[in-house]
Amino acid sequence: MTALYVMIPVAVIVVGLAIWLFFWAVDSGQYDDMDSPAHSILFDDEDPRHQAGVEEAKGPGTSERDAPHG
């Protein structure tokens, strides 16, 4: 049980850190837009840093989407 004498203060410090991190995330606007990040991974193939993934992703037959404007 003596471990608790150490673990409790550690837990409190960890919570303090977590709250600080959470405040930072809220203030930097990370929760402002919940929609676009979900879609942005679709475009990662376009990023030059992800070229390795592109080769893999180039499976046969990219499905055709809707027609252009109008």
Partner: protein, 779 residues
């Protein structure tokens, strides 16, 4: 694109597609989930008006400078899906001088940081337009800013409550007899102090809104949910301090954290839904142009900001532009579209000496207008003031949950007093702890989650159907409506002229005549021209005569279209009389004489009849109130079977009708779109603006029909009914749980474990029940 040729509908789309493909951003087309907005439907910005934005004094309110970089928020129009966001960000980042561009998809705001010494703002906007989006500088208004700040604060409170609650739960649960294995007395004390230490921020930081709400309600002598919640939280916390210090008694700290987390989560959900809708409607209230062309004494025009214009000066208003101020025409001949202000659906002819109103659209020829009234003195502002007055006496619909909470709290408080007195007689030692257990166990956690979760789920599904709720009372209130007021132009009808018939006068058949007319009209910028659609042939030498019509040649034949007298002038015969009485009649003729009548009219929306039918089957009274004074009003009413139809009403008249209905105790739903509907929209119990409505109408309405499908509204009526049923069910479940637990608590059998368990199960039940509303039939 994407390795194949595609047909383009117009040069506008083609230019955009070329710009996108040339920029190496072709995969936009692969990822987009919605067809994009037609660039020609975007508001046209004049190049010299954009250039005005490069002036330092104009930029001052919305551009911030940090060293070499400037930072600005832009509101982007024309975004239809996530791929647009990617396209905009990528395209801008590739420009020389742009350091950062990030688009928020939920409110369509673009944050951009760029070096404005190398890249003027006007270039930036022009680049956006090149790929098919229109952007305006965005200056947050105070209300939006405040809402945003409050949301962040609520989120912080929610996060703190969640993180701390988990720790408190671990510490507090260890002291409960059920989990207490071999805790030494010393450790027990430490754990109590640790949980007190961790609970304190929850109470003082996270629960602030409940205490403030409770104080406010007590001052006005109302018993609300906040009072009840504050009692439970405050009681549990104070008792916790007592038991920590003395080392005896139960510890309810984890219940405090749980209340805070559940209640804040409910509030945050509601807020998010509200902020999203606020962002969607808080576009620019853009009724007046940002700039205008001022004429100096020599007749030279100069583009200036509207704020720099003074009464008595003369402005040049080009065809297709909005009038910047009230005034009198000093030269020029044109027709003016006043449909948004008055509900008249045809552009009205205006000439020298006629008065014109700010915010109306000049349709045909250039006009020189002497400014008579500006800003607050214009007729437009008078309507806005009427709106504010109407908003002030908007009746409030009491919410179901509030009434239930009031009764609930009364019962609990009475029971607490009775039980307290009874236990005082039996065992004074335990009386306090039993009353406390009762207050905690009956905390209306599930009760206060019942409504927000149901409303949030229903709001989400309605959004998918194309109806955006901007105020909270709509769903509950829809069940109490008994009268519907509709506007005609733009609401029951499409609000734009469409070709309704072609009546040939000579040997050429209707299709051939239409082809000729379309060939001519395709060369015109006039709004009427769009009604004719695409022409197979192109006309040459097209000449526009303002107020009269068009002249040009197709396949070597000279043709005219427009006013009968003008067209008859080409063949030098007398003009035939117009055979009908409503709609706009255009004559098509060549050098031999008239060829055909083309009738343009405003068409009823396809689902207007279904809406009227749905309302009638619910037993509502329907009134058609229109600003249009033409016989069209009576005809639309006859077509739809509406008995009470009135035309030629001013915004004041409409508001008077609404007041009359209110005096007779009616609950009114208003459906409208124009600026002339705005006061009624603001004053009605519930108001819905069409998605195509003016910004002012949208911001003053309680809901916006984004899809413009009246059918979605009928679905919303059903959804409102289902929501009400779910809310009632939820309230019933929550009260049942609280009612069941009350006798057990009164007998002193409820320990913190059972309180925690019962609370979470009942809350979960309520939330799951509410989630049933997020299932929605395919629209």
């Amino acid at each position: 694109m994407l390795g194949e040729a595609r047909a383009m509908c117009c040069p506008g789309c083609q230019a955009v597609a070329e710009a996108i493909v040339d920029g190496g951003l072709e995969s936009y087309y692969q990822h987009r989930s919605e067809p994009s907005t037609n660039p020609e439907a975007l508001p046209q910005a004049l190049p010299d008006e954009i250039a005005l934005l490069d002036r330092a004094d104009v930029q001052q309110p919305f551009v911030e400078h940090q060293g070499e970089l400037a930072q600005a928020s832009l509101l982007v129009e024309g975004i239809s899906c996530a791929a647009c966001g990617w396209l905009i960000e990528r395209h801008l980042r590739e420009l020389d001088g742009v350091a950062e561009a990030s688009l928020n998809l939920s409110n369509h705001r673009l944050q951009v940081r760029w070096a404005d010494s190398r890249l003027p703002l006007s270039r930036l906007l022009a680049e956006l337009r090149r790929i098919g989006y229109a952007a305006h500088p965005y200056t947050p208004d105070e209300a939006a800013e405040r809402l945003h700040q409050e949301n962040r604060r609520t989120l912080r409170q929610l996060g703190v409550a969640g993180l701390l609650w988990m720790q408190v739960m671990m510490a507090a649960m260890a002291t409960w007899p059920e989990f207490n294995l071999d805790l030494s007395a010393e450790l027990d004390t430490i754990l109590r102090w640790v949980s007190l230490f961790l609970t304190t921020p929850i109470v003082f930081y996270c629960c602030g809104p409940f205490f403030r709400g409770a104080l406010r309600d007590l001052r006005t002598c109302h018993l609300t949910m906040d009072v009840s919640v504050s009692l439970a939280i405050g009681g549990a916390y104070l008792a916790g301090i007592w038991s920590t210090v003395t080392g005896v008694g139960e510890l309810y700290f984890d219940a405090v954290g749980m209340f805070a987390l559940f209640l804040l989560a409910g509030r945050y959900l509601e807020r998010r839904a509200r902020e999203r809708t606020a962002a969607a409607t808080a576009q620019l209230v853009n009724l007046l142009p940002a700039s205008c062309l001022r004429l100096d004494r020599d007749g030279q025009s100069e583009r200036i900001l509207l704020a720099e214009l003074r009464v008595g000066e003369q402005v040049l208003v080009q065809p297709g532009a909005l009038l910047p101020a009230d005034g009198v025409i000093v030269s020029g001949q044109s027709s003016v579209d006043e449909s948004l202000l008055s509900g008249e659906y045809l552009p009205l002819p205006r000439g020298v000496g006629d008065a014109v109103t700010a915010g109306t659209l000049n349709v045909e020829g250039p006009l020189t207008v002497e400014v008579r009234a500006l800003g607050d003195d214009t007729r437009l502002s008078a309507i806005v003031r009427l709106l504010e007055r109407a908003q002030a006496d908007k009746p409030r619909l009491a919410e179901l949950a509030d009434r239930v909470a009031q009764w609930f709290l009364l019962v609990v408080l009475l029971a607490a007093v009775v039980v307290g007195i009874a236990w005082w007689q039996i065992d004074p030692q335990r009386a306090f702890w039993i009353v406390l257990a009762m207050l905690v166990a009956t905390c209306p956690c599930a009760l206060s989650l019942a409504t927000p979760t149901a409303l949030t789920a229903a709001t989400g599904s309605l959004h998918r159907l194309g109806l955006l709720l901007t105020r909270g009372h709509v769903l509950e209130g829809l069940n109490r409506i008994d009268t519907l007021i509709v506007d005609k132009t733009g609401t029951l009808t499409e609000g734009r002229l469409t070709l309704s018939s072609v009546q040939p006068l000579r040997d050429l058949d209707a299709d051939a005549c239409l082809a000729l007319a379309a060939a001519l009209e395709n060369r015109s910028e006039h709004p009427i021209a769009r009604a004719f659609g695409k022409a197979p042939d192109a006309a040459e030498h097209v000449l526009s005569v303002p107020g009269q019509g068009l002249e040009g040649s197709v396949g070597g034949h000279r043709l005219r279209i427009g006013q009968p007298a003008f067209v008859a002038g080409l063949s030098a015969c007398t003009a035939p009389a117009i055979p009908g009485d409503h709609g706009q009649w255009l004559l098509l003729g060549d050098e031999q004489g008239p060829l055909a009548w083309l009738v343009l009219d405003d068409r009823l929306r396809d689902d207007a009849a279904a809406l009227v039918e749905a309302c009638r089957s619910r037993g509502w009274t329907i009134s058609l109130l229109s600003g249009d004074s033409s016989p069209m009003v009576a005809e639309v009413a006859a077509q739809l079977g509406i008995d009470d139809a009135r035309g030629g009403l001013t915004p004041d008249d409409k508001l008077a009708v609404l007041r009359g209905l209110h005096e007779r105790g009616r609950t009114v739903l208003m459906l409208g779109d124009g600026v002339n509907d705005v006061p009624v929209l603001a004053g009605a119990d519930i108001s819905v603006a069409m998605g195509s409505a003016t910004d002012l109408a949208k911001t003053s309405a309680d809901a916006v029909l984004l899809s413009n499908r009246l059918g979605s509204l009928v679905q919303a009526f059903d959804m409102a009914r289902r929501t009400r049923r779910i809310i009632v069910e939820n309230l019933f479940w929550a009260s049942l749980y609280n009612g069941l637990v009350l006798p057990f608590a009164a007998c002193g059998w409820v320990t913190p474990v059972w309180a925690a368990l019962g609370m979470s199960v009942s809350s979960l039940l309520v939330v799951l029940n509410a989630l049933r509303l997020s299932r929605v039939q395919a629209a």
